[in-house]
């Protein structure tokens, strides 16, 4: 190109709308002395620039992109120059044609906005709805595309002259920031921060409207408040998340490494699971009973910040944000009865009336529900435990373009997934599909996601289970249906996000999924290639006396293990205090409603039951979480497993647990030996097939100790171990795997 006058038409794809991309282009063009224009269209951003510095322009276009932008492609082509052109213009959005560009996820308040928030001279001082193109709500306020103010929850707030001037000035940080607002023209809060803080400090439970729903908040140091919150929420033992002002405040309670700090402080502001410090300041005992981790998040709305600011005594400027703050809040989703998050004000008043002492709302509607995302560091890198606010609708890029598919996931921790080209859009966490409200949320989400993506699905993928509501929903769509076996989907989800397009050996270490032929599966070695999954082996079957009941009563699985060891007579003496032990023994011995399962999760439960850890769990997964919490260093009980043909039998390990010194030693033996046994079982199969890669998936892969030990073992053997990262390892990731597996069947 050299120094000649060149005119380029540049197509930019990715998340380039609503993130300040046009002002960025505008500023760049002016700086480089280029003429031309930029506009948003359904495919992203289209630019024409003319001048001699077009090469520099292309480099800076990506190199200096605004913080929330994600550039997937820059496609320049030379076009005829227009010698008469002067200046650089931002043209209006074109709302026609296929919608292909994404709406960005919601982002936390940016540093520039924080500076304004705490600057008494600023017109947005202590204004709970300030934002700019680099921060603030996106997905949760957007009804439809293109992303413009009239299509958002801000439609009812006409801009005041000051805000309009900022909105229209290409040089301003708020140029075309759709949710821009100020105290004169924007949404208002029902209660000032001082009232809210006083209520929290007084031990009250406060419902606070956030980005994707209401939270229930209370002071985390007040045992009475936390205990009451647990009681009114009917949340038996499930840990509560904390919100603290900043990383230094979090470090009082938990250990944080550099990766974790980045997660905590990232613009998505997820809840991060962090290892608790034994010497931290006292918190209410009911927050995360018996667990070694605390879920912690930092403030992400101006209102959150205002509460901490208030607690800090309203200091000017942002210096206080660098030092530890006392205020520690419990922040838990306001979803009483397991139904979806409350989002409407009237709905919140009705549903939260008996729970919250104070309901803090405002007049900006939440259009899309989204729970907080939950992440933890797993095997040296972050992994999602729950994907929600801050990450939807960020696409997951696939190995190749696939037909448009809607996948509807499983039953618990449901999500849906929609594919478009080589992108897979995993929805936010929807909840458990055992109630009509969550099912309604699923239907709503299908409609909304298909709409904002402009996708008409060619097929619907679903689980094999005939009694999942997701399966029935899939049948109702009338689309060609592609059933995908549960553990095939678990493995395929990991293959999808790691862009594995060839065959792979997968370990699905899971709770329960219906197998081909109606079996109860959950500890599977599968050879997955496209639409096919061959069951190479599985864990030895354990009786599951009472079906789902056994998933909440680990002592039942321990009883099943005792029967397997030939020590059935120990069941009553050991577990007579927990329930009808003699009856359970008979059920196991006679096979009465005691289906055999190869589930890894149920082997975990058996270990917990034998070690006396959470023999009766308040929620599924509670016992294994407590077991994991006890591990300092995994240990291997040499040879405490058997490989019978294609089956891996852990009975000797469970026998060994009976002579463990204490529960901690038992937990360490269980984790270390399970990992060693899985390696011993899997490596020969990998070698026999010349495979250098293994895919680890299923709910048990949320267990960091197991995931790390296993991944390290494979790495040592020269095998690449792929872990679930972008989609949750549990059933929250099923829909992604279903979509990817189904794409081979179309």
């Amino acid at each position: 190109m050299g120094d000649d006058m060149v005119r380029l038409r540049i197509r930019v794809r990715g998340r380039v709308q609503g993130v300040g991309f046009r002002p960025h282009v505008h500023g760049l063009a002016r700086r480089l002395g280029l003429t031309g224009w930029v506009l948003n269209d359904p495919q992203g951003v289209l630019i024409e620039v003319q001048g001699i510095a077009t090469t520099a322009f292309l480099a800076a276009l990506t190199g200096e992109a605004p913080p929330l932008a994600r550039i997937d492609a820059v496609e320049p082509e030379a076009v005829d120059a227009d010698p008469a052109e002067v200046g650089f213009a931002i043209r209006h959005s074109e709302a026609t044609g296929a919608v292909a560009t994404g709406i960005g996820p919601d982002a936390t308040v940016c540093p520039a906005c924080l500076a304004e928030l705490f600057d008494p001279a600023d017109r947005r001082y202590r204004y709970a709805f300030l934002n700019c193109t680099h921060c603030g709500p996106r997905y949760t306020i957007t009804r439809r595309l293109p992303y413009d103010r009239p299509q958002t929850a801000m439609a009812g707030f006409p801009l005041c002259p000051d805000c309009r001037a900022e909105y229209e000035d290409p040089a301003d940080r708020r140029f075309h920031a759709q949710p821009v607002a100020c105290p004169a023209c924007g949404p208002r809060l029902s209660h000032p921060p001082e009232i809210i803080l006083a209520a929290l400090r007084g031990g009250l439970i406060v419902a606070i409207k956030g980005l994707g729903g209401f939270h229930l908040a209370c002071d985390a140091t007040r045992a009475d408040a936390v205990e009451r919150l647990r009681r009114v929420k009917q949340r038996n033992g499930k840990p509560f998340a904390l919100m603290v002002a900043n990383t230094p405040s979090a470090e009082r309670h938990v250990r944080i490494d550099e990766d974790e700090r980045a997660l905590l402080e990232g613009v998505a502001r997820p809840i991060v699971l962090l290892r608790r410090r034994p010497d931290g300041p006292a918190l209410a005992p009911d927050i995360a009973p018996g667990l070694a981790w605390l879920g912690v998040m930092l403030p992400y709305t101006p209102l959150h910040y205002l509460l901490f600011h208030e607690a800090a005594g309203r200091p000017d400027a942002t210096g206080w944000l660098g030092v530890p703050q006392e205020l520690t809040l419990v922040m838990t989703s306001a979803n009483p009865g397991g139904e979806p998050l409350a989002i409407g004000n009237a709905e919140a008043r009705q549903r939260l009336a008996g729970i919250a002492d104070l309901i803090v709302d405002h007049d900006r509607d939440i259009v899309v529900r989204a729970d907080d995302s939950v992440v933890r560091k797993l095997g040296g890198a972050p992994a999602f435990l729950r994907r929600g606010r801050g990450h939807v609708p960020e696409p997951i890029r696939l190995a190749r373009p696939v037909p448009p598919i809607l996948a509807v996931g499983g039953h618990l921790k449901a999500t849906i997934c929609v594919t478009r080209g080589d992108e897979a859009f995993l929805s936010q966490h929807l909840g458990d599909l055992d109630n009509a409200s969550t099912l309604g949320f699923l239907e709503e989400t299908v409609e909304h996601l298909l709409h904002v993506l402009g996708v008409a699905p060619a097929a619907v993928a679903h689980d094999l289970h005939p009694d999942f509501h997701s399966t029935r929903f899939a049948e109702r769509t009338g689309l060609p249906a592609v059933p995908v076996q549960h553990h095939h989907a678990h493995v395929a989800a990991v293959m999808a996000e790691h862009r594995v397009d060839g065959p792979a050996l997968g370990l699905a270490l899971d709770g329960f999924g219906l197998g081909e032929g109606g079996g109860s599966w959950g500890g599977e070695m599968l050879l997955v290639e496209g639409a096919l999954a061959e069951r190479l082996g599985h864990l030895a079957p354990l009786a599951q006396p009472g079906g789902d009941v056994a998933a909440r009563q680990p002592w039942r699985m321990a009883a099943a293990a005792l029967v397997r060891m030939g020590r059935a007579e120990e069941i009553v003496p050991r577990f007579g205090g927990h329930g009808p032990a003699e009856g359970v023994r008979r059920m196991i011995e006679r096979g009465i409603n005691a289906p055999l399962t190869s589930s890894c999760g149920r082997w975990f439960d058996a270990a917990c039951g034998l070690l006396g850890i959470r023999s009766l769990a308040g929620f599924e997964g509670e016992a294994p979480m407590a077991l994991e919490s006890l591990v300092r260093r995994p240990q291997v009980a040499a040879g405490a497993w058997r490989i019978d043909g294609t089956q891996l039998d852990l009975t000797p390990l469970l026998e060994r647990l009976l002579s463990a010194r204490d529960a901690s030693e038992g937990a360490e033996l269980f984790h270390g030996t399970l990992a060693a046994a899985l390696l011993d079982w899997t490596l020969p199969q990998l070698r026999a097939r010349g495979l250098r890669r293994v895919v680890l998936s299923g709910g048990c892969m949320m267990n960091a100790v197991l995931a790390e030990t296993l991944a390290a073992g494979f790495q040592d053997a020269g095998i690449d171990a792929l872990l679930p990262r972008l989609a949750p390892a549990n059933d929250g990731g099923l829909s992604l795997g279903q979509a990817w597996a189904a794409s081979f069947a179309l």
Binding site: G337, H465, D510, S520, V549, R586, M587, I592, G601, N730
Partner: protein, 329 residues
Amino acid sequence: MTHGSGGKAMAQLVRELFAAAFANPWLDQGNDQAAFDVPGGRMVMTTDGFVVSPLFFPGGDIGSLAVHGTVNDVAMAGAVPLHLTAGFIIEEGFPLADLKRVVDSMAAAAREAGVAIVSGDTKVVERGKGDGIFITTTGIGMVPPGVAPSGDRARPGDAILVSGSMGDHGVAIMSTRDNLGFETAILSDSAALNGLVAAMVAAVPGVHVLRDPTRGGLATTLNEIAHQSGVGMRLAEADIPVRAEVAAACELLGLDPLYAANEGKLIAICAEEECDRLLAAMRAHPLGRDAARIGRVVEDAHCFVQMETRFGGRRIVDWLTGEQLPRIC
């Protein structure tokens, strides 16, 4: 009991056994069919095959069940049952004493229900080709004028009632079959409901729906009605009667009593304003002593049966494709 050459004499014996037990003017005529006069009006007819293991269970046996099941199917049309016919398939080697027990129990059940077994048939099959005994009964009955309950007549606003505790039969069968050794024996509720129904339609002739929640239990039956009527339902778990021993057995077995079979209970759906009258009529009858209002019919395009749980949540009480498969991953 033998089959083949010696079978003729045996068949003779069997016929005599039945003739003595079921004796009534129509059967006594000794014809291959029964002829009788019927009043004018709407007649209902139903047939059912009975296969149950064990054949004898606490609170009943296959004989009484074969009468109650068919009488109840007739009664659920609001009808007065008149006559039954019965077909028996008996496995070679089935003890004669057991057969006599079954037949006597059947005769007693018919007498108690006020119906006559007017025609019958007996076949003996080779050993291994049956499970002791199978019985098929067919029943007819007459519907009083102005009475027309039907599964498609539930309307939003209607009240949903049950005549007593749920799940007794299913749990009794299961606990006996598997000898789970409960301290308190759970009795099947097997009973003929025509007397209760007669009292109910006398009190509320316009009752919208009557149905006995047999196989699949309350949950399955309510879902059938919801789909037939194109409505939804809202139940309150706390209002659904379940015996403590049944609840305890279900807790052990990991089963939901709402899916367990009943053989002597009915569901009634009526207009809200008639609910109290109907409930009073039910409670006045011995078989409806524990009758309860358990919910209401609502508008719902999805035809969901939803239940307010004891813990304040709400869940869908769905129909199941097969047995209660695990769902928790």
